[in-house]
Every structure is written in C-alpha cells, then in structure tokens.
C-alpha cells in the first residue's frame, strides 16, 4: 500500500476483529462477511443493524476488494455493530495455518470409527468429522456440500 490510512477512516468497509484465547488475532477490513451461525449462514454488509449471534462450526468468508478469504471458525460469539464486527471464538484458523495432512488423517480415522461407533459417541465423532472437513475445505476449497452429498448417496445404495 502506497498510502497508509488508519483502519477506521474508510466508511464503506466493515472493521472485523477476531479475538481468540491467543490474543487479538485478526484485524481486517472487509466489504462483506459471511459467517456460519448455529442456524445457518449470516451475511453482513456495512451498516448492518446491531445483532448478536451464536456461531456454529464453519467457514467464515471475508470478501474484500473482490478477494475472498476463508477462515475456519469453530463456535463462538459474534457481535455486529454498524461498521464493526467483533468475533470471539476459541479457534480461528487461516488456510496456511491448517495442517492439511493431519486433517485428512483425522477424517479417515473418524470415518472408520463412525462405522462401529455406539450411540453416545456418535455426536462427538460427527463433530470431529465436521471439524476435519471444514479444515480440509478451507485449506483446499473442496466443497463440503459435495462431499456430504456424495456420502449420502453412498449410504442410500
């Protein structure tokens, strides 16, 4: 950037802050943010009405100047105020921070365990599977929905 402006100056941008237990992790500007809540996706544009929401496990998409950035966010709280969005979460990962191999291994392991799992483990395993899938998608843009569709077809056969 040739011209350095303070972050608050631009008027039609959202100031996004993500705070995790490792400190203030992201301070970004964005034109639009799409976040995964517990009951579906929520898109935020500048000037949104003040809303607080509960985040689910999913992908946070940050669109700025036509570029899209994806983050893996697992749970947490989002507070939206006009041009500021504060997200508090335990885990927020950039694509480059994700250990793709480990996520793949996790996925295979959990899938194997799911086949012979008992009732009480089922939810936990499903959650782990979802986490690994989100990580894989964020790091590779693989579509989660496609994978799930595929999986459902398998089960039907």
């Amino acid at each position: 950037m040739a011209k350095e402006e303070p972050k608050y100056v631009s008027e039609k941008k959202i100031n996004l802050n993500i705070t995790t237990p490792r400190g203030l992790k992201f301070v970004e500007e964005a034109d639009m943010i799409i976040m995964r809540c517990i009951d579906g996706d929520l898109g935020v544009l500048p000037g949104h009405e003040p809303v607080s929401t509960v985040l689910g496990d999913g992908i946070l998409r940050i669109i700025n100047n036509g570029n899209e950035m994806k983050l893996a966010v697992f749970g947490g709280i989002a507070v939206i105020e006009d041009k500021r969005v504060n997200i508090f979460t335990t885990i927020a990962q950039r694509p480059e921070e994700i250990d793709r191999e480990r996520a793949e291994i996790d996925r295979r392991k959990v899938e194997a365990m799911l086949e012979e799992s008992e009732e009480h483990q089922f939810h936990k395993l499903q959650m782990l599977l979802r986490h690994s899938l989100i990580r894989i998608e964020v790091s590779s843009h693989l579509e989660e929905s496609e994978y799930l569709k595929h999986n459902v077809e398998d089960e039907e056969e």
């Binding site: 517990i38 607080s52 508090f88």
Partner: protein
C-alpha cells in the same frame, strides 16, 4: 570452632546447592516467559467477554435468568488455585489465607482445589474438598479448564452449589502478585443502571445467546485465572530463587573468608613455632 576441613566441606555443599538454585531460577524464568505470553493472549478475550456478560446483566429480562439470579445460599463452591510445587516464597500461603478469610464469613463451603500444595493444606484442615486437580501438564490446561467449566455449570444448575467463587493470584508484574477472591456465579448484576430494552437484537433469541455465551465466558474465566496464577507462581519462584542464589553467594563468600583466615592463622602459628625453636637452637640451647 569448626576445623578447616569442615569449612571446606561446607563451601562445597553450598556451591552445589547454588548450582541447583541457579538451574531452578533459569527454569522458572523460561516458564515465566511462556506463561506471560499465554496470559497476554487470553486477557483481551476475557476482558471483552466480561464486558459483554456484564452489559447483558443490566437488561431487565436477563436479571431473572438462572445464571444471573441470586438464590438463597445453602452452599458455596470455592475454586482455589495453588501450585503443585513449593519453592515459591509466600505464593501458596497468601492465596490460601485469602480464600480462608473469605470462607470464614460463615459459608458452607465445598472446595475444588487445584494444585498439590492447596490440596495438602485443606486436607489437613479437614475442609470439604469435593474435587482436586493436580499435576496438570501445561498443554492440558486449556481443555482442562473447558471441562471444569462444564462441570461447574452442571453443579450450579443442579443446585449443589448456589454460588461459586474463585481464588486466584493476579499477576501485576514480576514483583507484584495479588491474591483475589472473585465471584463467578451468579453473575453480579448492576441494579442501579437498568436498561429495559436492548438496542441489540439477538439472532437466535436472547436465551440461546446467553446459553452459548456463558460457557464460553466461564471457560475463558477459568483459563485466564489459571494463567494469572501460573504466571504469578513462576514469577514468585523466580524471585525467591534469585534471593536464595544471592544468599548462597554471600554464604560462600563468608565461608571462604573464614577459611582463608584460618589458613592464615595456621601458617602464622607454624612459622612462629619454627622461628621460636630456631632461636632457641641458635642460643645454644637444646630442645
């Protein structure tokens, strides 16, 4: 008076102790560095969540929520954070004293004790310890505090504890750490400054929001309190090891001086004996 050999032995003993002290000092300062980084990471999210939770408490609708409502107190739960190891000066004594002071205000207490030192003490005092957490690896603390937060919520919701306090040591700087007892649940509400209608909307409803916010808040609160205590512990250990190292150096210096004086005295005595007997011989006398 001790002989020269004894003094030499003591110098050797003190020097080897000093080596150990130095090693412990070094370990404590490395750990302090790490703990401080962790603490500085968790402080912002805790502060923000706390603000959020307290702001919610001003809403009239929220004041009747189970996490905010004051109940009749039958038993109180105390979480006391102490260390597993000693050698940290007054660190454990201070926090235990503070916790006891608070309990002695006529509370029917249940104790969750973290750290071996506190466990030993409360066991000796025959206090009602309902859970102990000792020997937690640093990497396990984060998930450990999450599971304790869950346990805490269950206990609180089942009515086995009507209020929850946490006793931890706040880390101000390396030389200053202050023991505190803080109320965790129910979340204290400010009645003077009530808001009747929130400007904020809640996407999935206020209750759902609180139900998700409180566990996260408690998790961060416990994790942060542990981080504060852990950092204080390392700082206290570093300071006391520093002092011990200085004492050891001083002692070695004193003992060396004593040893040299003794050596000098022995040489002088030997010399004067030789000179004396030589003089007698020179005068033609016989020994």
């Amino acid at each position: 008076m001790s002989s020269m050999r004894d003094i030499k032995q003591r110098i050797a003993n003190v020097s080897s102790t000093k080596q150990i002290i130095k090693a412990m000092d070094m370990i404590a300062s490395t750990k302090l560095h790490k703990a401080k980084a962790q603490l500085e990471g968790v402080r912002p999210i805790y502060r923000e969540l706390k603000r959020l939770v307290e702001e919610l408490g001003r809403l009239e609708d929220v004041q009747n929520h189970v996490f905010y409502q004051e109940r009749e107190i039958k038993s109180s739960l105390y979480i006391v954070l102490t260390s597993d190891q000693g050698f940290s000066g007054g660190y454990n004594a201070n926090i235990i004293k503070k916790a006891l002071e608070h309990m002695n205000q006529g509370k029917n207490e249940k104790i969750l004790v973290v750290g071996y030192k506190g466990y030993e003490y409360f066991k000796k005092m025959r206090k009602n310890i309902i859970r102990k957490v000792v020997d937690v690896a640093d990497s396990q603390v984060y998930y450990g505090s999450e599971s304790i937060a869950k346990w805490l919520l269950e206990l609180y919701l089942s009515g086995e504890a009507d209020e929850v306090f946490i006793a931890y040591t706040h880390f101000e700087n390396v030389l200053n750490h202050i023991p505190y007892v803080q109320k965790v649940l129910p979340i204290s509400t400010d009645n003077t400054d009530k808001i009747y209608e929130s400007a904020m909307k809640y996407e999935q409803g206020l209750d759902t929001f609180i139900d998700h916010l409180i566990p996260l808040y408690l998790h961060m609160k416990l994790f942060r309190a542990y981080s504060e205590s852990h950092t204080s512990e390392q700082a206290a250990r570093m300071v006391s090891m520093d002092a011990a190292g200085k004492n050891a150096s001083e002692m070695i210096e004193d003992l060396t001086r004593l040893y040299n004086r003794k050596r000098q005295a022995a040489i002088t005595q030997e010399l004067s004996e030789i000179v004396g007997s030589a003089n007698i011989l020179n005068k033609g006398g016989t020994l």
